[in-house]
Subunit: 125 residues, 4 copies
């Protein structure tokens, strides 16, 4: 799994990290039980403050996506897949709804938005 963050994005770095984990787990890129990078390792790889990774991991753990194994690092939780699939859906939906609400209140029609989306649909990375 490849994690990348955009430090200049509007969305907080720790949230970017979280989303990427959620997406990776939901997609099956990482399996339940699999060990994940340590805080220090990931922080070094992303060139990011370790505290930021700590926060992302804490929230992921609180939500049951990862679990800490008594001083041996952290791994993907057993039931992470279900949670992540649901959460992925929720993240995407929320963001899309906001964008649509704004487009609508800006006076755009459904047709216009649909056309625009077809043009803007990002190419696979």
């Amino acid at each position: 799994m490849n994690i990348r963050v955009r430090p200049d994005s509007q969305v907080p770095i720790y949230e970017q990290i979280m989303s990427q984990f959620v997406f990776a787990i939901a997609a099956g890129d990482v399996q339940p039980g699999e060990r994940i990078l340590s805080v220090r390792e990931l922080a070094a790889e992303l060139v990011v403050n370790p505290n930021t990774v700590v926060r992302a991991y804490q929230e992921l753990e609180r939500d049951g996506m990862i679990t800490s194994k008594r001083g041996m690092g952290m791994e993907v939780a057993a039931d992470a897949l279900t949670i992540c699939a649901e959460r992925r859906q929720r993240i995407v939906l929320t963001r899309l709804r906001e964008a649509l609400l704004e487009a609508s209140s800006a006076g755009m029609s459904l047709v216009e938005v649909t056309t625009l989306i077809s043009n803007e649909w990002p190419k696979p990375l």
Copy 2:
């Protein structure tokens, strides 16, 4: 033109005010040359601190959407329509792009997104 703000939104109140002006001007709800509510009036109407309105107005002014007539309030700038139309497009596009990028990186296909949007398209207010 009716302005409403959600004080508990993620997006700052002064930005909400700005967007609504941009959209209202772009839609022709208010004409260039037309006087807008005074800082105190709008603050009272929105139940918001006057300074918050001041900030929104100042940013709108420096972007050329409104102009201040010393001691006589503020009015929609002569060339506000062009600016606002362009900016509206930009605001909506930016937000949509981010949402689509996320949907894409979450593994959704263009078809799925399009379907989802048709279902989620907000009803006119």
Copy 3:
């Protein structure tokens, strides 16, 4: 004497009116004892709020440049010429000093400024 104001200038309209009177009197365009436009007339001519003209006239009167003749309007004061000449000097000097201070603190040399001034010297109107 021709008075013109720039409503969008940084300097207050009433000050613009005052300066122009000072300059006109100092230049001899209007003579002591000569009647000046009434508040209403000047306000109409400049398309300006009468209160603004009132303020300009009040300050001019307070400084001895014009005097009100019992309900018959206002006229240039007897000793206005001396006062205005002195004041004109002061106005120009103050403004120039500020500009030079800024230029200097911006790192420009005297030579640069002198050159620049020769190029920028406004053509007679």
Copy 4:
């Protein structure tokens, strides 16, 4: 770089702060990428309300002179030098033009002004 403000000046404190940054950057006193004083630090140093510094920094940021690194303070932007050099020129020119226009309309000749300037040229601080 030493920043000083005159609290009793006509020009707003936040503008004084901005100008000093522009001049300092244009002069190369601070380099692109260099970290600048935090809001609280500068506010304490100038004995000024932090919000005043915030305003100055925000306007400098939106004009591309400095950039904010979330949670890590602000630094001089990469292309700040170009912007600041251009802006410095503009600030000085505008102020000088106004002063010259006034001097001219007061009836002074170019020679008089040049002489006056040589006498008034402020000594280096």
